[in-house]
């Protein structure tokens, strides 16, 4: 069902105009021996009705469990208006605004987005998006290496408390340019970046220091100290932040004496549904002085022939379609639609709304921790202040606990055993504003049962319980 409007008659007429007998003939420049036969295994096309049924079945299969996982993707309320507007055809089916006059909708919206993002981060400039938070950090690293005039180093300090997937992504994306990521360990008691370990790099030639806030453990870093350390050591500081958190936390532009140099992160908490991990969007802001090193599109306000205000892509000389191999990045298609949603989301929430959401998430986390620790065998692992997410120590392997909870349609958190085996039975939990008291009580109750059945030591009971 390839959505083709041609009638048989039109086909014939068009072939006549072209002067060929068949469509087949239009492919006559392709060497015959390269031509493939019919594609195998694809089956015949489904009508919309059938694919609807198929997808409904798949959706039902995955269920709608109660989710206490965060770890970089958060289940927030999204106002109904956001996607009803963002999926309007004029946004959804337009492309990159190369013809500015015919794209003022998208362009103005992106300019508004840049304005909002810089406000939220308290930075000077913002681009119009990158792929996601992890790849945005990689671009920020490349940008820092280009931009740091004081340093000739290709070394980047990266805290171990940064999201492991971010570290992995950055590694993939920068290693071929000879950039080296140097890991800074975290303090096993606070969960923050280990300042003593950092001090060992004092005086080295470094391109940049990455500063996550909050870090992967939900723990708040001492961002002022880290940012100042970077400055003192001639390294640029790259903030990696949760944008929703910035509604209530000290924003990167205010870190240390002069603010972070670059700041990036994932825009998912601003209106993007969880959607199995994407599409989200990466944001990237910086100081004004670094704007020409920025990757990605940037929109500027200008005037038309009549002096009327309008918006257009600008500083295109940074981009691959103009500068080719000398571009600041190879990025072309970005995450425009998600930015459309985020801009509408921020307009609807306002600063107060975002702050309220952030603080309700935080309260829910407090409540969750309180309820779970009240069971007696669970306790917070780190002493550092946390926002919105935290690590708990369980009396048994998270893997087993999570499996049982999942059987009851509860996704109980993210098991840290894979990435941080040194932490023992560590579980990263999150409770956004979408989890209510009932949900938290339900979690507590099931957890209590899991712990109880373990105390009885009865594998049989456990197994039965699993199946229930």
């Amino acid at each position: 069902m390839p959505f083709i409007p041609h009638t048989e008659e039109e086909l014939r007429q068009m072939l006549d105009v072209i002067g060929v007998d068949s469509i087949e003939q239009l492919f006559d420049e392709i060497p015959a021996k390269l031509r493939c036969g019919e594609l195998q295994g694809l089956g015949s096309g489904l009508w919309e009705q059938d694919i609807t049924r198929l997808m409904q079945d798949k959706a039902r299969e995955d269920g709608q469990p109660l989710c206490f996982i965060g770890a970089g993707a958060y289940d927030h309320h999204i106002p109904a208006a956001v996607w009803q507007l963002a999926s309007r055809g004029e946004y959804y089916t337009a492309y990159t605004p190369y013809q500015a006059e015919a794209s003022q909708g998208t362009l103005q919206l992106l300019y508004e987005y840049q304005s909002m993002m810089t406000e939220l981060m308290d930075m000077d400039v913002s681009n119009a998006s990158l792929y996601d938070g992890a790849s945005a950090l990689a671009e920020a690293v490349l940008m820092a290496v280009r931009a740091n005039r004081k340093s000739r180093s290709r070394h980047i300090l990266v805290p171990a408390s940064l999201h492991p997937h971010y570290r992995a992504t950055v590694r993939t994306l920068v290693k071929n340019q000879g950039i080296e990521l140097v890991e800074i360990p975290y303090d096993r008691s606070t969960g923050q970046t280990d300042l003593q370990a950092l001090a060992q790099h004092t005086g080295q030639d470094l391109a940049a220091l990455v500063v996550p806030q909050p870090n992967f453990f939900g723990v708040l870093e001492d961002v002022d100290v880290l940012t100042e350390w970077a400055r003192a050591n001639g390294a640029l500081s790259i903030a990696v932040v949760n944008p929703l958190a910035m509604a209530v936390l000290h924003p990167p532009g205010e870190w240390g004496e002069q603010g972070a140099d670059i700041c990036c992160g994932d825009g998912q908490p601003l209106g993007a549904p969880l959607s199995s991990g994407g599409p989200y969007f990466g944001f990237l802001c910086s100081k004004q002085t670094l704007v020409r090193q920025m990757p990605g599109r940037i929109i500027g306000r200008t005037v038309d022939l009549d002096g009327k205000e309008g918006f257009a892509l600008t500083l295109q000389a940074r981009e691959q379609h103009i500068r080719r191999s000398k571009a600041t990045s190879n990025i072309c298609t970005n995450q425009g639609l998600m930015v459309t949603a985020a801009t509408i989301h921020m307009s609807l929430m306002g600063a107060d709304g975002l702050a309220s959401t952030a603080s309700r998430c935080h309260s829910n986390l407090q409540l969750l921790v309180e309820k779970l620790t009240s069971l007696g065998e669970i306790e917070p692992l780190f002493s550092g202040p946390v926002f919105h997410e935290t690590v708990l120590r369980l009396p048994l392997e998270p893997r087993r606990v999570l499996r049982t909870l999942a059987a009851h349609n509860i996704l109980g958190g993210y098991d840290l055993a894979g990435h941080y085996p040194e932490l023992g039975n560590a579980l990263l939990v999150c409770a956004t504003e979408n989890r209510n008291q009932d949900d938290i009580d339900k979690y507590r109750l099931k957890m209590e049962q899991v712990l109880a059945s373990r105390r009885q030591g009865a594998c049989a009971t456990m197994a039965k319980f699993d199946r229930e």
Partner: protein, 486 residues
């Protein structure tokens, strides 16, 4: 009017959140925000009205013919959006356990299989988030391949002069030097120049076929053989896959790695600039290097494959699994097309392009490659019009907007002067194509009478021609509160 100009201190979309923030227990004051960010303070209706009206200022596939060459602006089936947004799918956490992911994973697995078949490659990873990231993954795999063999002297990636800007930029991001290969007057790669460029420093070549010149590279097999003989690998930029779906496959042409642009060929939304999805497919020898995560199966259940199972992988490209929601849309689209539908896409996109080319030539416009068949797109050069009438490609482009038609891609590829790269796609009816041709003829007429007037276009849009130079010189990249500006 900017959304900020609708803002009043204290105004709110009340239904969206309680007004006052609760206390942030346990968070030291020094880490808390002091100055409230100046986000808009508007009512819900104001936001809805503002963004509804703003949307109406866009051209889009849903409202206009949008023959932007190399971008495949075809109809985005509405079902793809609806079905990818089903509550069970749109609310799935990326780290949900396999027990709660079989529906999603099965779709992703099947999509990998479909894309393998469509491209003729041995394996596919869905990880890359757009074409350019697919390119990155592809070239990084080529590098990993050479490295794994200890073949570390290869420092160059060959790129035809007609290539998209992402190609050379990607080569550089992977630590290579990009070396340009000229095209011949007939649009094919200059074999002699290629021959001359090949050597032990050659890591590989990036090609698209059909190329961005809108023609099929006829000597592709020869090129493949020559590059392989020189020890290089072949990268296929899949941006133009729409032209050959089900007709000829990159794998069969001898390519080692390919990225696809699902937002083009598989009709996921362009969204005003994105998101996209750029899965990569590879031949056997590159398979170990594919980016993670991928989806595997034991024949019954589905599971993720990550670094653990794929130790030679070039690694992750995103925090989770790429643009999953876009991949779902592409899956729905692919299932709706089926094998026969795929081929019809190639057939009718090619038909539409050749029809337009013929009619434009008949009307006296100049084809860049008049002896060649158009593929799904083609190039005309307006250099004669520029010389004789004083209106260039940009003027034609802007005036087309007044006729309710989005301009084709202009001034790309760079080697053709005053060019229009025109891609109608298969979903446009003949009436649209005819309307385009009529408008082109009319604009030329207008220019004969009053070139100045054509140069002043557009006249019917929310703004007239914008001052790009000023935009770049007097940077105004964000709204500033009155007090700050002063």
């Amino acid at each position: 009017m900017l959304i900020f100009e609708h803002s009043r201190p204290g105004r709110r979309a009340q239904a969206q959140a309680p007004k006052s923030a609760t206390r942030l227990e346990g968070i030291p004051a020094a880490l808390q925000r002091k100055r409230k960010p100046r986000l808009p303070e508007v009512s819900e209706m104001q936001a809805v009205r503002h963004y509804t009206r703003l949307s109406q200022k866009n051209f889009s596939i849903d409202t206009q013919f949008y023959p932007l060459g190399s971008c495949t602006m075809k109809y985005n089936p509405r079902a793809c959006n609806t079905l990818a947004m089903l509550p069970g799918l749109v609310n799935r956490h990326p780290l949900a356990p396999d027990s709660h992911s079989q529906g999603f994973l099965s779709a992703m697995y099947e999509l990998q299989e479909i894309l393998k078949e469509v491209t003729g490659m041995s394996a596919v990873s869905l990880a890359p988030m757009a074409g350019a990231q697919g390119e990155f993954a592809g070239i990084a795999m080529i590098r990993a391949y050479h490295d794994a063999r200890g073949d570390t002297g290869r420092t160059e990636i060959l790129v035809p002069d007609a290539a998209h800007g992402t190609n050379p930029a990607t080569a550089v991001m992977c630590g290579y030097k990009a070396r340009e290969i000229p095209s011949k007057a007939d649009g094919d790669v200059d074999m002699d120049a290629l021959e001359a460029a090949l050597g032990p420093q050659t890591a590989g070549i990036m090609l698209t076929n059909p190329s961005t010149l809108g023609v099929f590279e006829r000597r592709i097999k020869e090129i493949a053989d020559r590059v392989h003989e020189a020890g290089g690998l072949l990268y296929y930029d899949g941006a133009n896959l729409n032209a050959i779906l089900g007709r000829v496959r990159p794998g069969d042409m001898g390519f080692d790695v390919i990225h696809m642009n699902l937002h083009k060929t598989f009709s996921t939304p362009h969204g005003g600039g994105g998101p996209g999805a750029g899965p990569v497919g590879v031949s056997k020898r590159l398979q170990p290097f594919l980016p993670v995560p991928m989806v595997g199966t034991d024949g019954h259940d589905y599971h993720w494959l990550s670094e653990e199972q794929c130790p030679q992988s070039i690694g992750r490209l995103s925090a989770f699994a790429g643009n999953a929601g876009i991949l779902l849309r592409a899956y729905v689209y692919a299932k709706m097309l089926g094998a026969e539908g795929m081929q019809r896409v190639a057939d009718y996109s090619t038909l539409n392009a050749n029809y337009m080319l013929k009619r434009l030539m008949d009307a006296g416009f100049t084809a860049a490659y008049p002896e060649r068949r158009a593929t799904h797109e083609f190039i005309i050069t307006l250099k004669n019009e520029a010389r004789e009438l004083g209106i260039n490609a940009m003027d034609f482009a802007k005036r087309l907007l007044d006729y309710g038609i989005h301009a084709p891609t202009t001034y790309f590829p760079l080697l053709v002067p005053e060019c229009f790269l025109i891609e109608p796609t298969e979903t446009e009816a003949r009436e649209s194509l005819d309307a385009f041709i009529d408008a082109m003829i009319k604009i030329r007429e207008e220019a004969r009478t009053d070139a100045e007037w054509v140069r002043g276009a557009p006249y019917t849009l929310p703004v007239r021609r914008l001052d790009d130079v000023r935009a770049a010189r007097e940077l105004d990249l964000r709204w500033q509160a009155q007090e700050e500006r002063a």
